[in-house]
């Protein structure tokens, strides 16, 4: 549980910084989108009740996917803009905010991968019970296959 909360908190903070950085760079709409994705992590922290563990896992999982999508979109757009060189135009280079976004994507990738491994495991029911708590320990660390 602690691992989950730390991940959600860190990703909320990091992605908020990236979103604000885009807004300061003048990319207002994209900045807002990154801030919205950071809200997905933040809403995870606000989950309360019996099934809060499961729901926090869900927020970490989906928030990470969205953040990875955002950075993938920037990278692919940059890669495609390299074709501009063929027509003699300048490609759209990656900026400071893009670099920050890609950096934040690394913990998001880690979060995504950890959750995916746990959710897809055949022995999942050993980790997450119907009440949303972990079954093999008392609110201990985040479940892994190991």
């Amino acid at each position: 549980m602690r691992f989950l909360q730390v991940m959600l908190l860190l990703l909320t903070l990091f992605s908020s910084v990236v979103g604000l950085s885009y807004i300061l760079e003048g990319e207002f709409v994209f900045g807002l989108i990154v801030l919205l994705f950071s809200a997905v992590f933040a809403f995870g922290l606000l989950e309360r009740g019996g099934a809060s563990f499961s729901f926090r896992v869900a927020h970490l999982y989906v928030g990470s996917i969205l953040l990875l999508l955002a950075s993938g979109y920037r990278l692919l757009s940059f890669a495609a803009s390299l074709l501009n060189l063929l027509t003699g135009e300048e490609p759209s280079w990656l900026g400071l905010s893009d670099s920050l976004l890609i950096l934040v994507s690394l913990p998001a990738l880690f979060g995504f991968w950890t959750v995916r491994r746990a959710l897809r495991s055949d022995t999942e029911s050993r980790f997450v019970r119907r009440d949303g708590r972990m079954a093999n320990s008392e609110e201990g660390d985040f479940p892994t296959n190991g």
């Binding site: 709409v29 994209f30 989108i33 919205l36 994705f37 809200a39 997905v40 809403f43 499961s54 729901f55 896992v57 869900a58 927020h59 999982y61 989906v62 928030g63 996917i65 969205l66 999508l69 955002a70 979109y73 692919l76 757009s77 495609a80 803009s81 074709l83 501009n84 063929l86 027509t87 135009e89 759209s92 959750v115 995916r116 959710l119 897809r120 055949d122 022995t123 999942e124 029911s125 997450v128 019970r129 119907r130 949303g132």
Partner: protein, 632 residues
């Protein structure tokens, strides 16, 4: 020997994917229910047998309510195939087994196909095939349309089932139901299975009653109502028994789909995430396709210069064909990229969630999320959404969906938006696109409300939709989606757009090739200038819009010819915005009008569609023009 094989199953269980595997076709498949609304046929040869497969629209029961479900029921009932494949979702088999039991009752040669076996295995589900075969008395094949697992075995089973004279055993109902069935069987006449007909009569199927030319007494009807409940209960109890004996599951608490759905259909986050993803999709489309658009443009400009304009033939080839058609084809990379992105969203299973998210709002407008899903098809082509409205069981909702479909921005309008956005808003193309699409959805929804209030009064039926599982998108499926949608654009370019471009050229060339200001095109546009003056449109824009009534892409080719090339087109932001709004809704294209006529059996709704769209577009464009004058 030709063996006719019907493919039936619940919506979105992979019937069309399986059909594609069996006959090597490339029919459009999607990860949401209601994609197939008419029957699709294909043939293959296997072990000296010709297998003729018929892919039928998805249905939950043979008690058909919507037009597409009736297609399936009528096919099985009136022209029974030699073998019927009932496709059951291995992960959630309950509804599929219900349909299977009904098909067995019809006395047909049934094969149960448990599809998506790979997904079931991944989720830790084990299936005891022998137990199902014993219970149901039909051959069972486990397949995966995605990996191709079980396909050769399925073909073998089809041939074997065709050769066998045995029919599956019927399930028995409680005593009072059996008594009523037997009594009815004696009264019924007709060529199809009497037991099946009797069960359907008890269930209150009026179609079967009409077909048999029989009617029921008042007392019988109320008695049958209770028995009908008993029939459903017995079937479901039986299904639970079958599953208890044959299915083993790991009791998962939080599946991947549930985790994703918790956030993507969140009451506060759901709609903003949808809008954000849509914006990213548009932006991605422009950024990725931009260099390719520039390349295609360069090729066509070079070709046009090479041909020159000396003489009538060269002029027709250069301006009518290369400039006219080229200006439309320039946007092919953008259109294909957009379809790629939409295909990605569709194949992951995200699109039905949008219907779920929007259902509350749509209900207020007297439509349902189900209608919204059909309307989303219109982003490809309005003809598709008008036809897909057959899947709606409520006639009032079907007609409403047919009438408002033309307001959904189809792919034909994409080149026009791209042209206007490039000229009038070169630095805010994605934002403009986002606004146009949002306006398109808003206009569709408000029109639905108006149509319901003015023409077709009534309440909506609540949305009951089975949300498909999320899945990792398959590259080949997305490419197939992109090609199926995009090829219509290419076919149109080679036929109707080419033809209309030449007609536009003739209008600009005659009577005086040297001066376009005195051409027939100029005269045509100027004759209507007084009507469009409040919108700020000049004769060139008006002429382009007139020809665009044939097919919307023609607006672009007309602009290219009337201005000499797209590079010469000049639109200030105000006129650009006004034109965008006008193009969004003004008159459906000829193909859409033809389908509206055939789907509503008359001209009344065709005339309404033309007049209503013209009036709404004009009024809205006028408002935008005034607002733009004040703020831009």
């Amino acid at each position: 020997m030709v063996i006719t094989v019907g493919i039936v199953g619940n919506p979105n269980v992979g019937k069309t994917s399986l059909f594609n595997r069996l006959v090597g076709a490339r029919q459009h498949v999607a990860n949401w229910p209601g994609v197939t609304v008419t029957r699709i046929e294909g043939t293959t040869t296997y072990k000296n047998h010709t297998l003729h497969f018929v892919d039928l629209p998805g249905t939950y029961s043979l008690f058909a309510t919507s037009i597409d479900e009736k297609v399936t029921r009528d096919f099985l009932l009136l022209t029974p195939p030699n073998v019927v494949l009932v496709i059951v979702d291995s992960v959630a088999p309950e509804q599929g087994l219900y349909l299977l039991l009904e098909t067995v009752e019809l006395g047909l040669n049934v094969v149960a196909v448990f599809n998506a076996i790979d997904e079931a295995r991944r989720l830790g589900i084990t299936i005891n095939r022998e137990a199902i075969e014993t219970f149901l008395g039909v051959p069972v094949v486990l397949t995966s349309a995605v990996t191709g697992e079980g396909i050769p075995e399925l073909l073998d089973t089809v041939v074997a089932a065709f050769k066998t004279a045995e029919r599956p055993k019927m399930m028995a109902y409680p005593e009072p139901v059996e008594k009523a069935i037997k009594a009815l069987e004696k009264r019924l006449t007709g060529n199809f299975d009497k037991r099946f007909a009797a069960i359907k009569v008890i269930e209150g199927d009026t179609f079967i009653l009409q077909l048999l030319g029989t009617s029921l007494a008042e007392g019988e009807m109320s008695e049958f109502k209770e028995l009908a409940v008993e029939i459903s209960r017995t079937k479901y109890d039986y299904i639970m028994e079958v599953l208890a004996a044959s299915y083993g599951r790991v009791d998962k608490v939080l599946t991947i789909t549930e985790a994703i759905d918790h956030v993507l259909t969140h009451r506060y986050l759901g709609i903003p995430i949808f809008l954000a993803l849509l914006y990213l999709a548009f932006n991605f489309t422009f950024k990725v396709s931009e260099p390719f658009v520039a390349l295609v443009e360069t090729v066509f400009t070079g070709l046009s210069e090479l041909v020159g304009e000396s003489g009538i033939l060269s002029s027709m080839l250069s301006r009518g064909v290369i400039d006219g058609l080229g200006s439309v084809l320039t946007f092919v990379p953008s259109i294909f990229t957009l379809f790629f992105v939409l295909g990605l969203m569709e194949d992951t299973g995200y699109l039905p969630r949008i219907a779920f998210l929007m259902d509350k709002l749509m209900y207020r407008l007297r439509l349902t999320g189900r209608a919204l899903m059909i309307l989303l098809l219109g982003f490809g082509c309005n003809v598709s959404s008008v036809m897909a409205a057959r899947a709606l069981p409520d006639e009032r909702e079907r007609i409403t969906t047919v009438l408002v479909s033309p307001f959904i921005s189809c792919s034909a309008r994409l080149p026009v938006y791209l042209m206007i956005a490039s000229v009038a808003f070169p630095n805010h193309k994605a934002e403009v696109f986002f606004l146009v699409y949002a306006l398109s959805v808003a206009l569709t929804a408000l029109s639905a409300r108006f149509v319901n209030k003015a023409l077709l009064k009534g309440e909506s039926v609540p949305l009951v939709i089975e949300l498909p599982r999320y899945r990792v998108p398959k590259f080949s499926t997305i490419l197939n989606y992109m090609w199926n949608r995009g090829k219509h654009f290419l076919i149109k370019a080679g036929t109707i757009i080419l033809l209309t471009s030449v007609v536009v050229w003739a209008f600009t060339y005659f009577p005086n090739p040297e001066d376009i200001q005195t051409s027939f095109a100029a005269k045509l546009g100027r004759s209507l200038e007084f009507l469009f003056k409040p919108l700020g449109f000049d004769w060139r824009t008006i002429t382009a819009l007139i020809f665009g009534g044939v097919a919307k892409e023609v607006v672009v080719s007309s602009f290219a010819q009337l201005y000499g090339s797209l590079e010469n087109v000049q639109l200030d932001p105000r006129t650009g915005l006004t034109l965008l709004v006008f193009v969004l809704g003004y008159v459906p294209c000829l193909a859409t009008l033809a389908v509206i006529r055939s789907e509503t059996n008359g001209w009344r709704y065709v005339v309404f569609s033309v007049v209503y769209s013209l009036v709404v577009s004009y009024a809205l464009a006028y408002v935008v023009s005034i607002l733009a004058k004040a703020f831009v």
